[in-house]
């Protein structure tokens, strides 16, 4: 799956993660994560983002994410939503 255009999902509210995806001209996956629990969970959140992108077969993308304490299932859901929106599978 190719990320054809920028997209976003999630909110800045507590327990959520705001993610923005855009095409990566350099190729590969680049993750820029800010989190209120960066020290404790930063690695785990990045792991879930990578795992979700892998499942969706996304190989080239820039992910900018602002986390406000999202659990894994929320990270997964928001990345999936943003990815589908970036495919041109619009809000349906």
């Amino acid at each position: 799956m190719e990320v054809k255009k920028p997209s976003k999902a999630g909110t800045m509210e507590s327990n959520d993660i705001y993610v923005m995806l855009m095409p990566n001209p350099k190729g590969g996956i680049e993750i820029n994560l800010q989190s209120i629990v960066m020290k404790q969970f930063g690695e785990e959140i990045e792991r879930v983002i990578l795992e979700t992108l892998k499942e969706l077969k996304v190989e080239n993308v820039i992910v900018n994410a602002q986390d406000k304490g999202a659990l894994n299932y929320t990270v997964k859901a928001r990345i999936e939503t943003a990815t589908k929106r970036a495919m041109g599978q619009e809000s349906k």
């Binding site: 299932y73 589908k84 599978q89 809000s91 349906k92």
Partner: protein, 290 residues
């Protein structure tokens, strides 16, 4: 164990904080909402988040219901397909008609077979919120074996009728009556419309007592703070429990003496009174009140 459905708490389907705490707020059922609580541009987001929540969160003994979008919208089919596959306890269908419920029943059967779920395991709760719904509630309940109860939607109903919705609720008296009776006739639950002033607990108690007195078996809540009040109204009080126990004791005594009919406190006790006493005792035991 018989499942209670005294309260059904609405939770917005696009809000992770609320989805993950929904199970511990004390309601008998939670309704994860993909409809009115979610804006049109976020329907996809809510659907995926709710799906992941159901897959990953253990809601323990709480019944998990998802309110999908109305069947005639572009969102509904995708809602049903995605959510059914993670096996919620039930789907709640807004403005449901007999035809729509039959169609949804078939879709669920197909999904249950594909996913190897027990056939009929995903239940349905239609919302009665139009004049047509109120008049046809009996047929609507008959349209599918999956239907375990019905929610009365007072706000949409009064909107459909072009009348004012009030706290006193006189305008929905007939609708409450009709829904309560039809549901009882078909042996399913009847859930009253939510009380929308979340700061008025006296009003909530009055409204809940009104619903209970007409035979509605439970009430929807739109704020966790409403749950305790609704449960209080729907629990038998100490006097009711004491009387019920006395009725059953008197019944046993009469049976042992070979008497068919008996009286208690000068009042003749017949089958309906005995049944009510049995239900009271059963509920009291379930609630740990005796």
């Amino acid at each position: 164990m018989k499942r209670l459905r005294r309260t059904m708490l609405f939770m917005p389907g696009n809000n992770p904080g609320m989805l993950q705490n929904a199970g511990i707020l004390g309601a008998d059922s939670i309704i994860l909402d993909l409809e009115d609580a979610v804006s049109l541009t976020e329907k996809d987001s809510a659907r995926i988040l709710t799906r992941e929540a159901i897959k990953n969160i253990d809601y323990i003994n709480v019944e998990v219901v998802v309110r999908v979008n109305p069947f005639d919208t572009e969102f509904a089919k995708e809602d049903i397909d995605v959510i059914a596959r993670v096996k919620p306890d039930a789907l709640m269908i807004p403005k449901a008609t007999e035809e729509e419920l039959e169609a949804i029943d078939k879709i669920l059967t197909t999904i249950e077979v594909e996913e190897s779920f027990e056939k009929g395991s995903i239940k349905l709760l239609p919302i009665i919120e139009t004049a047509y719904g109120v008049e046809n509630v009996y047929n609507i309940i008959k349209s599918s074996d999956r239907i375990v109860g019905v929610l009365l939607g007072g706000e949409d109903l009064t909107s459909d009728l072009g009348i004012k919705r009030t706290k006193e609720g006189e305008e929905i008296f007939y609708a409450r009556n009709r829904v309560a009776i039809a549901c009882k006739a078909m042996k399913v639950d009847s859930i009253d419309t939510p009380f929308t002033d979340t700061n008025d607990f006296e009003g909530l108690e009055k409204d809940t007592r009104k619903a209970k007195s007409l035979g509605l078996t439970g009430k929807a809540a739109i704020n966790p703070r409403q749950i305790d009040t609704i449960h209080y109204v729907y629990a038998p009080n100490a006097e009711e429990i004491k009387y019920a126990k006395r009725v059953l004791e008197a019944m046993e005594e009469a049976e042992s003496e070979g008497k068919g009919v008996f009286s208690l406190d000068g009042k003749m006790i017949d089958a309906p009174v005995i049944n009510r006493a049995k239900n009271t005792v059963e509920l009291a035991m379930l609630l740990g009140l005796m």
